[in-house]
């Protein structure tokens, strides 16, 4: 009997060689299916897709950033960053965690851009300053604008992680002294998806990557370029404190009885009613907690230009009528619709209305 050589081994056997059990792998695929809002029956399909592929190259660029998304990436738990780096992807360039520096590091990036044109994934973290010829962020003497155009321009797909890479984030906050912009406003004609947030939740990043590997395309997005599986629904509509909002039970002061009992943080400035992200469902740090869960309102970090539009963080949202009882919840929903910025999906509003359960198939505005 012939002993199969390395090439003939199935992916599962290869994984087993790397110390990953089939059970662990299937668990991961099932979890991914859940994150991507797919039926569990998709898990085998995801597994099959990952089995077939050579680990795709991923390059991670950092510009005007604080490495918060890199830190978030390191917190990955399903799969862990070890699994991502060793088994799922080939992370060929990442300034913070890569071993080489200087010219050797630049070589790593060049190798991917030149040899794998159209086949690699680019992740961009941080804003890109465009004013004055791009002098406000240069790496190895090249401007961020120059680098992002070349690297994203040759990629199969680009994932902009965090608020800054999406729409400029903090560097672009008024008065935006460096002309900071997000990827979408600097490079045109590329395949791009955005994972805003400050930082992005890494589970959504792995979700996008697995979707891409499984279906060969990026997941569906809203008109702001955010994947629906992660940004399709309002925080307010999945908030564990929603019942207190509807019942008019609000925290009035930090540490008061309502605060200790887990009442609604709307009065303390929570931006959950205007923010679209899956924080309440997937939570953070291996589902340990999330802002509202620890007594602090949402600051709307996945919303457009949030440093300008969602501040002051501790002032309650304007024009939301009533601190009402359940009977006024209708009005509350309508009031929110009036202040929801153009382009923001408002389909969660119907769900704010008690007793209108069947209307949950709303469409985007």
């Amino acid at each position: 009997m012939k002993i199969p050589d390395e090439k003939e081994l199935g992916f599962m056997e290869k994984l087993a060689q790397k110390g990953i059990s089939r059970r662990d792998f299937m668990k991961f695929c099932t979890m991914m299916a859940a994150t991507l809002a797919l039926p569990a029956s998709f898990a085998p399909k995801i597994a099959e897709a990952i089995e077939k592929s050579k680990r795709p190259s991923l390059v991670w660029l950092e510009f005007q950033d604080c490495a918060g998304n890199t830190e978030s990436f390191l917190r990955a738990s399903k799969p862990t960053v070890v699994e991502i780096v060793l088994n799922l992807l080939s992370v060929d360039y990442h300034e913070t965690i890569m071993a080489p520096a200087g010219k050797q590091a630049e070589k790593s990036l060049d190798d991917v851009v030149k040899n794998q044109k159209g086949k690699y994934i680019t992740v961009v973290e941080g804003a890109i300053p465009t004013k004055d010829g791009g002098v406000y962020c240069c790496i190895g003497g090249r401007s961020a604008v120059d680098i992002v155009k070349e690297v994203c321009g040759n990629a199969m797909a680009t994932i902009a992680v965090g608020a800054c890479a999406w729409d400029g984030g903090w560097p672009a906050a008024s008065p935006n002294p460096t002309g900071a912009k997000g990827v979408k406003d600097v490079v045109s004609g590329i395949t791009l998806i955005n994972l805003p947030g400050c930082p992005m939740n890494v589970q959504n990043l792995t979700g996008v990557v697995v979707h891409l590997l499984t279906f060969g395309a990026l997941p569906a997005t809203d008109e702001l370029g955010r994947p629906l599986f992660a940004y399709g629904e309002r925080i307010h509509d999945h908030c564990e404190r929603r019942a207190h909002f509807d019942a008019g039970q609000y925290v009035r002061q930090w540490g008061d009885e309502g605060h200790r009992l887990g009442w609604c943080l709307y009065e303390m400035g929570c931006k959950g009613p205007e923010t679209f992200q899956n924080c309440p469902t997937i939570r953070w740090n291996d589902a340990t907690n999330w802002p509202v869960g620890s007594g602090h309102g949402c600051i709307g970090c996945a919303s457009p230009r949030f440093w300008d539009t969602m501040t002051p963080f501790y002032r309650r949202l304007p024009k939301v009528p009533g601190f009402g009882v359940e009977a006024t919840a209708d009005k509350i929903g309508l009031g929110l619709a009036a202040v929801t910025a153009a382009g923001v999906v408002a389909h969660g509003i119907a769900r704010a209305v008690k007793g209108k359960g069947p209307e949950q198939g709303e469409k985007k505005e």
Binding site: K18, A99, A101, Q253, L261, G262
Partner: protein, 498 residues
Amino acid sequence: MRAVENALGITIPDNARIIRNLITGIQYVQDHVIHFYHLHALDWVDVVSALKADPAKTSALAQSISDWDKSSTTYFKAIQDKLKAFVESGQLGIFANAYWGHPAYKLPPEANLMAVAHYLEALDWQKDVIRIHAVLGSKNPHAQTYLVGGMALPVDPNSQNALNVEGIALIIELANKAKTFVEKVYIPDLLAIASFYKDWAGYGAGVGNFLAYGVFEQDNVSNTTNLYFPRGIIKNKDLSKVYPVDQTKIAEYVTHSWYEYPEGDGKSKHPWEGVTKPNYTGPKPPYEFLETNQKYSWLKAPRYEDTAMEVGPLSRMLVAYASGHKRVKEVVDSVLKKLGVGPEALFSTLGRTAARGVETLVTAEMLLVWLGQLEQNIKRADLQIHNNEKWDPSTWPKEAKGYGFHEAPRGALGHWVRIVDGKIENYQCVVPSTWNGSPRDAKGQKGPYEVALIGTPVADPNKPVEILRTIHSFDPCMACAVHVVDTEGKEFTRIRIV
């Protein structure tokens, strides 16, 4: 936050003080371990050499330095097989194009394999222990709980939506896990690796002046000096005297920075009067190099009494050591003894890396002490987490100014604020990496990175792993550019430290 609290004269509740200490404390522990294994170790550890290791000898080595349970021959064999499969895949990812096989690597293959195993273990460990941030502050990174006047985490043993015994139990579990890893893996690895690189106690000394604002408040007075790691300054490597910190003596130059001051760039400015007006005068990108006799950096040049200062774990540990901090002194002395070197060895690349380990251990030991203080308060039914008196800006004076000191893991962090009519009139941050990575000032005085690199031997200018050792030992907050210039002033290589 502290700057505003200082400006408005706000005293925070004791519980908020303790929660802040816990969040900062676990951040030190987690961040320093990540720095050691994932941002610095590969300057000392040759990953490829680990493939040649004998797993049985690796196991013997590991068991000789620690009773950490993951130390069997089978375990190291499995790690080596995993590494082998990875290397044979031909896709080396973040490990490609590095300096493997460089003559400056001194560890035997077995020590390299042990370090690679712990590199991987630390990656899993760090994401877990930092869940303390999620319990106390919603998420990591970017905890969302800090308020002017306190914290947003409700504390109530009788509520399921506040910090209760369930949350406390999780913190205890994670804090123990953190401390155990530091004691049984990080510190033994640090000592084992350092013993092969003792010559690095002779390189990378830096400016020899050390500034620490101090950290871990032991009372709730605004900008208190009652700190577990004390505030102070050491001048010219003289550990016999610790000078007090006077914030009015801090000022920043922009002589070689791409900013301009209205009164000209020859004089420095105190942060309360600070100005951040960009004035780029460098070459149009793409460019090959920058002229250091002109403006050449986006960092300002902070100075204390017109002198460059190093900040970071080494500064904090030196100030604690020289101040007679009992536990720091014990641990520092034991590290020095184990390495067979004197206190002068602390002023070096190796000293900087060792001090980070010392601080991690001493901080990890305090986590449960602080948690105990919180439990005592809860026992007394003190559940206050926020001082609400000045929450409404209408209660503020027309004008106010303040400053706040903190010690980020990588060093002294100061914020200065001036408030007029309830709004920020001026806000200036002087951050650790501007102290350490400072460009030259009006007098041409060099910053800590630059001084530390002078005299560093570089075996192969095209693979300057030695430069990385010293720069990484500071834990720079940037992917920063360093130019290495030979004695004729001709640039022979350009290095991006990543």
